[in-house]
Subunit: 429 residues, 2 copies
């Protein structure tokens, strides 16, 4: 084994960073054996140097992250500060000064992945980011390497633990959204401002990264259709149960039938209880992958948290260190397929629509006519009357999102339709 250690600079020392530093110290012998050389924590860049950091030599701590990545003797920079800047500049500077980079930064990768990959290639260095999607769940490496000889057609994932906790709570207790969110906040599963989670921004960043890797093409955050889950109601869960379904916030990346384009989207959807994703409980994440040869695979585990994220970071760190010892780099970005990203209107799926309608003869015929006029074929309709008002639940066959949107707009203009109570896509069938 080589005795000269590989030097690691840690950018950020919060929940994840401090766990990375702790494991690097406590598991030093193990890591050295797995890498073939010892690794040494050479510097830790933080914003607040005064905060006590147990087990970290205060002499390593600095507030000057730029100087740290410019030192020139750093082999690997581990970036766990998150956000776009200064993370982006620090990573670019790290490559320029000869370091490889391990990052957990989903927002940055989703927005600027192509440029960062290009910088890595330009300088002959690695950019690894297993921790950016679904925490500890090995996902990027399996997609990029294990399935490298296969053709992925669809990725269907629960990639946000906060929203899965809330939806699971609503499902199991019948609670409304606000009540379930309050419990998630009290238990520390939701942040004080939960917008990034509940509005699907976090999941959309992960969808962009997953779609790019799965389909060997570039998908940017802006390409991902996004709908949050704040409007999912207890009534929606009752409807889902009647359908033999539950509701999950899904990140869905699909290749079109002709193979020429892909779509990526995040929204709440009904999925059958028999689907493996339906039984993913609490704050767990799981990603279901469908490919030509392998068939249906699922990867399940904790999607967040200091230790799980640190596990993913360290797996990358070992790989990147091994590559450096070999004088090689691992598989980088693979975007050769260069596929079009189609807009949401071209997505084809099934829909569950609840309408509040007047309880009088001919309403169903009117509604059915609107669906037919927009080319949306109806699978089942259920009518329920209540005091002069009635509700109509329509489940469609597969139709394009554009056709469905047109249908709903026309339905809203019918005098006999008092309101569209909910529209929910049905996936995973």
């Amino acid at each position: 084994m080589r005795t000269r250690p590989l030097k690691v600079a840690l950018l950020g020392c919060g929940v994840v960073g401090s766990e990375v530093a702790r494991i690097m110290t406590t598991h030093a012998d193990d890591l050295a054996a797995r890498i073939g050389a010892p690794v040494e924590l050479a510097g830790v860049a933080v914003r607040r140097p005064s905060r006590v950091r147990e087990g970290i030599d205060p002499g390593l701590v600095t507030t000057d992250a730029t100087a740290l990545v410019k030192r020139g003797d750093i082999d690997v920079v581990v970036e766990v500060i998150g956000g776009i800047e200064p993370a982006r500049s620090l990573i670019t500077t790290a490559f320029e000064h000869g370091a490889s980079v391990v990052s957990a930064n989903k927002a940055l990768l989703a927005q600027d992945g192509a440029a960062l990959h290009a910088a890595a290639v330009e300088h002959g260095r690695d950019l690894y980011y297993e921790a950016a999607v679904a925490g500890a769940i090995p996902l990027i490496r399996p997609l990029r390497e294990s399935l490298a000889g296969d053709k992925v057609n669809r990725v269907l994932g629960i990639v946000n633990g906060t929203t899965n906790f809330i939806l699971d709570k609503m499902d199991s207790t019948g609670a409304g959204y606000q009540e379930a969110l309050d419990e998630a906040t009290a238990l520390g599963y939701a942040e004080a401002d939960p917008t990034a989670d509940v509005e699907g921004f976090d999941a959309a960043a992960k969808a962009a990264i997953l779609a790019g890797i799965a389909f060997h093409t570039r998908v940017r955050l802006d390409d991902v259709y996004r709908e949050g889950m704040t409007e999912v109601t207890a009534a929606d869960f009752r409807s889902a149960k009647e359908m033999g379904c539950t509701i999950k916030l899904l990140a869905i990346c699909e290749r079109s039938k002709d193979g020429a384009s892909v779509t990526a989207r995040v929204h709440p959807a009904m999925i059958p209880l028999s689907h493996p994703l339906a039984s993913v409980r609490g704050a767990y994440n799981a990603v279901f992958v469908e490919s030509d040869a392998a068939g249906q695979l699922m990867f399940y585990g904790p999607g967040a948290g200091g230790s799980p994220t640190a596990s993913a970071v360290l797996g990358d760190l070992v790989a990147v260190c091994r590559n450096r010892l070999n004088g090689a780099t691992g598989p980088g970005e693979s975007a050769y397929a260069d596929l079009t990203v189609s807009p949401m209107g071209e997505v084809v799926t099934r829909y569950h629509i609840s309408l509040d309608v007047a309880d009088k003869p001919g309403v169903l015929a009117q509604v059915a006519t609107v669906f037919a006029e927009h080319g949306v074929s109806i699978d089942t309709v259920r009518q329920q009357g209540k005091d002069g008002e009635a509700s109509l639940v329509v489940v469609t066959h597969r139709a394009s999102d554009a056709s469905l949107s047109g249908t709903v707009e026309a339905l809203r203009n019918l005098d006999t339709v008092r309101g569209v109570a909910s529209i929910m896509r049905v996936e995973g069938e």
Copy 2:
């Protein structure tokens, strides 16, 4: 991209081999893009050259596998013939003549993995075998690479599709073992001679491979305790249901609490319905991994079949080809931890025991005394009388397998115990 192709020799052209050849042809451009150079099928060794092989140039087919691997211009040998010999000699010869090897041969890897890895290292070549465990499910790469910075403590897997199909059928229909086996045979899920599957030999080979990789130590097939599932009855499933459990044939690899030893075993066991493995249906496989930092992960997918196995082989092929282009090798065997493999007697778990006993006063006291004398603490007891006979169901707290065996032997010697109807371990709690 390099234009000179990498040359691949295929040993075996059955269900898996012909699918590998087919995908190499139909996905040639994709593979070239992912590898950075084209790959060319340079020879196919078969036993029966007369059999028609669609899509394979007859000029490539040979019966002389040894001459093929000795050619000297072969970059990668893909071995999908299975069994110990001639596979072992061919792989060794391939390394000697400069080729890297991708294998799907679980029996060989479980028996001679150490020697084969040593040969790969000696010649500076790769030995990859993702397809040897759980078919298409990426498992070896995640364990070896993604979790390389973590510490795995337990692997709990459903790694044999045939037996999972049979047990799932028994669970869902109340069928007995023979009836379920007959259906599995009729549907092609079980072979005419199902011994390797139902007696746990296949799962034991996979357990040996998984334990070695998970714990960075050597575990041979002979180190694995093995119990088949042919004696699981419909009554056992009724008992399991009363416990809120189902029954699965599990491969279980555990690190001891003090970290100094490991165990590996295959046997039927009750697991709670709430455990993610409980809902693995039909012929699917799934492996549950518990580690220090990542927590609980699960990998799910098809464990067998031509296409899924070919997907795993091709993923390895891409990695091995990339390594060759880089002039490097991937992570090889990691056995630095060099842990003792403890015998089954030292395994600690819970037990569900059904006894047929005389229906008279004092029996429970006698039975309880035997458990106490062997240091096995009882969690619950349930008595059920029927026509002078009675049954006694005992569920224990955690105890060593040796203590439990001693207890059962002593119970058999009690006059009032007519028989031990079943002993089943309880896992995954």
